[in-house]
Symmetry: C6
Subunit: 255 residues, 6 copies
C-alpha cells in the first residue's frame, strides 16, 4: 500500500531486561500505558524497575504515585532487590506521591476523589525531580465499585491528557481478578488506554509461571503473544524474549 517508511513512533527504552526486545524498542514515548495483572503478578515490581532503570541507565527522574502501599513499605519492599529508593528520594532522583487512604479518616465518602488535586501533586513531583517517567500504581482504588463506565472512561481520558502535557511516559497499573476475560473491572479501560500490557501468573497443574504480553500498542509494532519472565532478588524482572515454541526448542536442546 505504501513505500516502506523508516518512520516509527518514538519509544522510551525501559532498560528492563527483555522488555525492549519484546516491545520492539520500549514504551511509546510521552504516552500512557496500562499494566494489568492479578494480585502478586508483578505490577509494582515492573513499575518500580522502570523508574529505577530510568535513573540508573538514562539519568531520568521518576515519580511514583502509590494508591495501595505506603511510601515506607515501598522503600522497604524493594530493598531486597538492592534498590536504594530512599537514597534516590533524598538525592531528588525519584519522588513519591502518597495517595493511599488515610487510616485516620473514617467517613470519607466513597468516590469523592479529587483528580485535579492529584494531577497537581504529580506535576509538583515531576518538576521536583525533573521526571521523565511516571507511575500510577494500583489505580483501581480510584473508582468505587458502582462507578458508571462512562465516568471511568472520562476520568481515564483526563488523567492521560493531564500527564501528556507534562511530557512524561507513564505506566498505570490496574488490578485484575481473573487471568482470562476483559482487562479491567468496568469494561472500558482497555479501550480508553492507548497501550495495554498484561502480566499473568498462570497456575498450571499446581505450579505457577509468570508471563507478560503486549496486548496492544496503538500505532506500534510489537511482538505478539505471551513471554515468560522471572522475578529474582538480584535482577528484579527479566523477560525471556523467546516465544513459547523457541523456548521449548531451546530447553530441549539443552538435554
Amino acid at each position: 500500500m505504501s513505500e516502506q517508511t523508516a518512520w516509527e513512533i518514538a519509544r522510551l527504552e525501559t532498560g528492563i531486561p527483555g522488555f525492549d526486545q519484546v516491545s520492539n524498542g520500549g514504551l511509546p514515548k510521552n504516552r500512557t500505558s496500562v499494566v494489568a495483572g492479578t494480585a502478586g503478578s508483578g505490577k509494582t515490581v515492573l513499575a518500580l524497575q522502570f523508574l529505577m532503570s530510568g535513573v540508573r541507565n538514562y539519568d531520568e527522574g521518576g515519580v511514583f504515585v502509590t494508591f495501595e502501599e505506603s511510601p515506607e513499605d515501598l522503600i522497604y519492599n524493594v530493598k531486597s532487590f538492592g534498590w536504594d529508593l530512599d537514597g534516590l528520594l533524598r538525592r531528588k532522583k525519584i519522588a513519591v506521591v502518597d495517595a493511599t487512604p488515610d487510616p485516620g479518616e473514617i467517613n470519607v465518602e466513597a468516590g469523592s476523589f479529587d483528580l485535579t488535586a492529584l494531577l497537581a501533586r504529580i506535576e509538583n513531583g515531576v518538576r521536583e525531580v525533573n521526571a521523565k517517567r511516571v507511575i500510577l500504581d494500583a489505580i483501581g482504588a480510584l473508582f468505587p465499585q458502582f462507578t458508571d463506565s462512562s465516568t471511568v472512561r472520562r476520568e481515564l481520558h483526563r488523567i492521560a491528557a493531564g500527564l501528556r502535557k507534562l511530557g512524561v511516559t507513564t505506566l498505570i497499573t490496574m488490578e485484575r481478578l481473573d487471568e482470562e476475560g476483559g482487562v479491567g473491572r468496568f469494561g472500558v479501560e482497555e479501550f480508553v488506554a492507548d497501550n495495554v500490557i498484561i502480566l499473568r501468573n498462570r497456575l498450571d497443574q499446581e505450579k505457577r509461571r509468570r508471563t507478560i504480553e503486549i496486548l496492544k500498542f496503538r500505532g506500534c509494532m510489537h511482538q505478539k503473544g505471551e513471554y515468560t519472565f522471572t522475578v529474582d532478588a538480584s535482577e528484579g524482572i527479566s523477560i525471556l524474549p523467546l516465544s513459547a515454541i523457541e523456548l521449548k526448542q531451546s530447553s530441549s536442546d539443552k538435554r
Copy 2:
C-alpha cells in the same frame, strides 16, 4: 426457485488486500457496516485503511469520527504505515470529527450525548471533502452502561438513517469484551446492523493470531467463517483469502 439473475447488491471496493475477495466484492454500498472486536484487534487500523485506500485508489473523500483517540494521536499513530493523514487533511481529502470527551469538562451528565449535533458535524465533514466513506470509531462511548436496549436500538437506527441520506458507505467500530458470545454490549447491536464484521485476536497456547469474519451482510453473498490477517508497517492489514483448510494445505505443501 428462480432463474439465476445477474442482479447483485451494489458494492464499494475497499482496496484492503484480501477484503474484497472475502466479501465477494467489498462493502455493501451506501450502507452502514459494523466492525466489532476486542481491544487491539485492529478496528481502527482497518477503518482508517478503508479511508486511505478510498483516497489513494478511488479518489474518494473520507470522514473519520473519533470517540476515543484524539485527532493528533490518530495522525501520529498511523504515520508508521506511511499514511500521511496530516497531508490529506490539509488537502481536504479527509476530514476528522473530534467526538472525544473534553478533558476540561468535569461534570458532564453521562449519556447526555446530542446525536443530532453529531450528525450535523458529520454532514459538514462529508460536504467539505466530498466524502464517499465515513468512519465512526469506537461508538461504545456513545452509550452509558445502563442504557436501555430499546434506546440503543433506536439511536443506531437514527445514525444509520442519517448517514444513508448523505449517500456514504459507513463503517462503525464497536468494542467487544470477549471473543465469544454476543457481538455488542446491549444485546441488540448485531440485529439492528445490516452488516456485521468481527475481528478476533485469538489466544491459542499463549500465541496470538488475528482473524476476520463477515458474520452477516444482509442481501449479499460473502465468504463464510474466519480468515487470517496480518498487520504490518508497510502494508497495514492484509487478509489471506484462504480458508483455514486451504491455509493448512498450502502451508504443508511448502514443506
Copy 3:
C-alpha cells in the same frame, strides 16, 4: 393405546426446499410458529421465502411486518435471489407493514408499543392481499429489556390469538444471542409458542455451518435434530433432508 388413526393436524406446505420433508408436511396451518436464531442466521430470508413461495407456488397472498429493516431495504436485499418483491407489492400479492422505529421521533417512551394498532394494520394488510401467510420479522424489538416475563407472555398470547382469527399461518422471527441455552430473551417465549424452529450458524474450527431444527410442533410429528441448509443466490434456502449420519454416509459414498 389406540387404533392408528389417519388423522393429522392440517399443514401448510411452505414450498421451501427440504422444509416440508423435515417438518413432515409443512407448518401447522392457521397457527403461529416461532423461528429463533442469532444475527445473520437466515431468519429473514427464510421468512420471506415462505411468502414468495406462497405467491408463486400456491397463489397465496402474504403480509410482511418488519420491525428492523425498512421496506425499501427488504425489497432491495432480496433482489439478488431474483425475488421481485416490488412487483408483488404492486400486484397486491404481498403487503408490507412498516413497524420500524421512526428516526424522526426522538423521545418515544420505551415499551409504549400499541399492539392493538399493530394488529389492526396487519388485518388491513391481510384483507388487501387476501393473505394466507403472515410474517412478523424481528419481534424482539417489541419488548424493552426490562419487560416482566408475564407481560411478554400475555402479549405473545394476544398476538397469536389476534392472528388466528384472521385465518392465517404465521411465522414470527425472534433474535437469539447464543447458539446454546434458552430460546428467547425472557425465558417464556418457547413455552408460549405452539411451534418453535431454531436456525443455527455453528462456528466449528473457524468455519460456519448453517442448521435448522424443529424444536417442537405441538400436536405434530416432525423430524428431530438439526439439518444442514444452505443459502445461495439462485435458490435461497435449501434444507438437506438428511440426518447428520445419513449426510456423513452419503458424502463418504461419493469418495
Copy 4:
C-alpha cells in the same frame, strides 16, 4: 435396621407404557408430583396421557387445568394420537379448566392471580367428572418473574394442600430453561414438591433423544437415572424400562 415390611406407599398405576415399571408401581397416590422439562420435552403429552389412560383403563375421571394452551388447541393437538378428548368432555369423563390469559384483558396486573378461585374451579371440575386424576399444565405462568421465593414456596404448599383434600393424584408440569442445573426458576420448587420427574430432550451431536428421570419420590422406591422414551402417533409416550447399560447390550445383541 428393621424387619423387611410389606408396607409400601400407595401408588396409582398410570397406564403409561413403561412408567409404572420405572416408578416401581406408578405415581404416589393422592399426592402431587412435579414434571419439569424444557419446551417440547413432552410434558403436556405425558400429562394428558395420564388422564386418558385413567379414563380408558381404570374408568377414573380427570381434570385438566391449562395455563398455556387453550382448551380448543388441546383437543385438536392430541387428535393425532387418536385421543377423542372432545367426546370425553361431552361424556363427562374429563373436565378442562381454562386458566390461560384472556387476550381481551389488557392491563391485568402481573402476579395478581387468585389462587383461591382457581382451587374452587378445580374442585368443581373434580366433582363434575368424579375425578381421581388432576393436571396443572405449565404452572410457571402462575408466578411473575420477580416473585420472592418464599411466596412461591407458600403458594405451592397451598396448591398441594388444597388438592390433597380432594383425594386426587396430581401432576403439575413446570417449565425449565436448561437441561442441567436446578429444576425450577425460583430455586425452591424441587424442595417443596414431594415428587419430581424430569423430562429431557438431549441434544447430542445435533441429534435429539428424549429421556425421563424420577429425581425423587418421597417415601418411595423407584428406579434411578434416565430412561429413554419415544413419542409416536399411535402410542403416545412409551418408556423403555431398561437402563442405559441394558439398552446398549440389548441393541448390540440384535446385531
Copy 5:
C-alpha cells in the same frame, strides 16, 4: 508438636450403618451439624434415621422440626422403612414440631419468622420426650431469597447457641441447588456451621449414584472425600465405609 494425647472431642454414635466409621465415631456431641444436599439427595431420610436409631439403639428421645413436609406426610413417608413414627410419637419417644407454612394464611409477610417462638417450641419438645437428638429439616425455608448474609449468619448463630443450651446433638438439613460450588444459598452457612456434611446425587452418564462427604468437623478427625451410600426399604441409608479406590479394588476382586 505435642505428645500424642488420647483426648478426643466427644462423639454421639449415630447408629447409621457406616456413618460412625466414616466420621471416626459419630457426630460431635452436643453440637450442631449441617447436612446439605440437592432435592431427593436423602437429607430427610438421613435425619430421621438418626432419630430412629437414637430411640432404638440408645433409648434417646428425639425432636423433629419440619419446615417442608407436614407431620402426617413424614410419618407416612417412612412407613416403608418399617419405621413406626406414629407409635413413637404416642409413646413420647419422638416429638414433631410443625413449622411448615400454614396453607390457610394468605398474606404472611415473607421473612417474618419468629425464631424465639420456634426455639421455645423446640425446648418444649425436648423436655417432653427427654430428647438428646434434634433435627431441623429444610431450614432454607427460614430465610427469604434476599436476606442479607449478615442476618443469616446471626440467626444461624442464635439457633446453634439456643440448641446447645438444651444439651442436644442437632442435625440441620439445608437445600442446595447444585452438586458443585458453595454449600448454602447465602455464602456464609458453611462458615458459621461447626460441622458440614454433604449428600450428593451424582448424575454420571445418565445414571445416579449417591455419595456422602464430611466436609468439615471442627476439632475432629474424620475420613476425607466422598463415600457411596444406598437407600433401601429394609435398611434405610447404608454407607460403604470404603474409599472410591478401595471400592474399585474390592469390586474387581469379586470378578
Copy 6:
C-alpha cells in the same frame, strides 16, 4: 541490575512444620498476611498453630480475635491436638478477643461494626500477654454482603495500619466460596493485603487433598505454586516442602 545484596525483609519464623521452608523463612515480620480458604480448609488450625508455636518455641505471646467460633469452642476444638489453650490463657501467654455475634442481641443493624473499639480490645490483649503474634479469624463476618468495595478497602487498610503500630505479626483468615477465581468476596482484598496465602481443599475424583500456596509476599522471595499438607491429631498441620513434581518422584522412588 544490581550487585546481589544480602539484604532481606525481616521474617518471623512460624514454627509450623514446612511453612518456614516454603516461605523462605517465615511470615514477613511486623506485617499482616491474609490466609484465604474454603470452609474446613484449615484456616483456624493454621492460625492457632501459629500462636501455639510462638508460645512454645519462641516464648512469644499471642492474641486470637475470633469472629465465628466462641472462645469456649476454640479451646475445646484444639484439645485433640494436645494444645492446652486454657492453660495458656490462664498463664497469660495467649489472650482471646471474642468478636462473635451476641446471640442475645436481636436487632443489631448489619454492618454497624465498631472497628475502633475492636482495635482497642486487640491492643489490650497485646499488652496483657506481651503479644508478638495476632490472629483475626474469619474476618468476612466484618463486612455485610453489599458493602461497597471502597469501604472494604479502607477498613482493611485501617486494620493493617492499626496492627502495625502495635509491632505485631498478624494473620487474618478470610472465607472463600470457590477454590478458583478471585481471593475475596469484594474483589479488593487480595490487592490491599501485602501478603496472601491460599489454603485449598481440592476435590479430585471424589477424594480430598489439602494444599497451601503463597500467592504473594510483597518484597519477599518465596516458593511458588501449591504444596501438599496434612492435618493430624499429633502434629496439627505439616507441609511437605516438596513441589508436586518432586513429590511424584519421591513417591515413585519408594516403590
